[in-house]
């Protein structure tokens, strides 16, 4: 029996859970529906059931895990995602990358563990992405980009060419980042937040929040 734990029993988890059978069947080509089960896990569960699946504590999930147990993390906050990833990986569990069949993640890219690519996502050429990258529907990463760890793209994000996105960045729905150049990539600093619909035309300082068209800083650490 293969067990998949979706960490985070919320809206995002509910969306991501649909990707799980595709990932399991890629890994185990002869997998039948009753060979696997899916559970949600939360640090402190406040319900026992969600979206038709049981909800258990992360502790119980870890305690019950064996070599056929996998997980991914449906939590948008990059720091929370890192914390939980660390907890689960230290307990010896393996994350499983998830990808919608309509997403196009082309060959020749270097993508870290536990990535999630939603409906119609697109990753083109010469791209390096770190671990636990969460890419929601219709978002794209264009050529020659470098993306760090625990980065979250909401839906319809346009990360154009020659852009460096550092760790823990969150990019809101519909945001667009102008391309950099090979000589001078555009940089989005560590922990920055890019607001919904923002049109980013220049570097974003670490920790800053930018909004608007053109995007300007509203909060700086």
């Amino acid at each position: 029996m293969i067990t998949f734990g979706m960490i985070g029993a919320g809206g995002m988890g509910c969306e991501m859970v649909h990707l799980v059978p595709y990932a399991l069947k890629q890994r185990y080509p002869d997998l039948q529906d009753d060979d696997y089960r899916i559970v949600f896990a939360e640090s402190e569960p406040n319900k026992t059931e969600y979206d038709g699946y049981p909800v258990i504590s992360v502790e119980d999930f870890i305690a019950g895990a064996d070599e056929n147990t996998f997980f991914n993390i449906a939590i948008a906050d990059p720091y929370a995602r890192e914390r939980l990833a660390g907890q689960l990986e230290r307990a010896g569990l393996e994350p499983l990358a998830l990808q919608h069949p309509t997403a196009e993640i082309r060959d020749g890219n270097d993508i870290g563990a536990a990535s999630v690519f939603g409906f119609m996502a697109l990753v083109t050429a010469r791209i390096k992405i770190g671990k636990y990258f969460n890419c929601m529907p219709f978002s794209q990463v264009a050529h020659d980009c470098e993306i760090g760890d625990y980065v979250s793209f909401y839906s319809r994000v346009d990360c154009n060419g020659h852009i460096v996105i550092e760790d823990y960045v969150t990019i809101g729905n519909g945001a667009c980042i102008r391309n950099g150049t090979r000589e001078k990539p555009l940089r989005v600093g560590k922990g920055a937040t890019i607001g919904m619909g923002a049109i980013v035309t220049k570097d974003v300082p670490p920790g800053a929040t930018v909004v608007g068209n053109p995007a300007s800083v509203v909060v700086k650490d």
């Binding site: 196009e104 020749g108 697109l122 050429a125 010469r126 264009a142 060419g161 049109i199």
Partner: protein, 220 residues
């Protein structure tokens, strides 16, 4: 053996080359991948291969071409695209339309030669498009539009209905153009540039650069 040359091996060319093989297979029914030879073409080649495919100079590409050679141009600048198109087509080499299999180009449209239609695009109905239209991922052109020659749409451009876009217009990532009407189409003038994320609600004069929501002319 059919030779397909992608003119331009920069970021855009490399993205578009991905859809060369599916497009060739679709346009030459009964063919297999081994029937095609893919090459890059550059005015001044910097390397001899890119992604394991050979890079030829424009002169060599022309010199080696036969009746089964075709091309497309992966360069964003419409004026450069025109210059190269004229240079190469003068030697009898035909353009090939590239289209991603998950895009939709509905029947009944009139699309000129050399179009490049990328991932998940929609070209709807009753549309006329000129030569070498470049349409990047997730873009759409809705009904009753007339698009000129060498027009470039970046990713996620929305061109609504009854819009007339003249030659060499460049629309940036995420730009949106409001629909015109049958009586009064919305016009984007020759060579205009529409900035990233601009929301265009009225005519744009030739050569103007517009940005913002609502879009206004950028004074330089």
């Amino acid at each position: 053996m059919i030779t397909f040359g992608m003119v331009g091996s920069g970021g855009l060319g490399r993205e578009m080359m991905y859809i060369a093989m599916p497009s060739l297979l679709q346009q030459f029914p009964g063919s297999t991948e081994s029937d095609f030879r893919l090459v890059w073409v550059e005015s001044e080649p910097q390397k001899s291969t890119v992604h394991d495919l050979p890079v030829l100079s424009v002169d060599d590409f022309i010199a080696e071409a036969d009746d089964n050679t075709c091309l497309n141009i992966g360069i964003g600048d419409g004026y450069i695209r025109e210059r190269l198109a004229n240079q190469i087509e003068a030697e009898g080499i035909r353009p090939l339309q590239l289209m991603h299999p998950n895009s939709e180009l509905r029947p009944g449209n009139d699309v000129g030669p050399g179009a490049t239609i990328s991932f998940q695009c929609l070209i709807s109905t009753d549309i006329t498009i000129g030569k070498y239209f470049m349409c990047m991922a997730y873009s759409m052109v809705v009904h009753d539009c007339v698009i000129g020659d060498y027009v470039t749409f970046a990713t996620r451009v929305s061109c609504n209905g009854h819009v007339h876009i003249e030659d060499y217009v460049d629309a940036g990532n995420g730009a949106m153009i409001r629909n015109g009407s049958y009586e009064k189409p919305l016009r984007i003038g020759k060579g205009a540039k529409i900035g990233m994320g601009a929301v265009v609600a009225k005519d744009v004069p030739p050569g103007a650069v517009v940005v913002g929501n609502p879009a206004h002319i950028l004074e330089t």
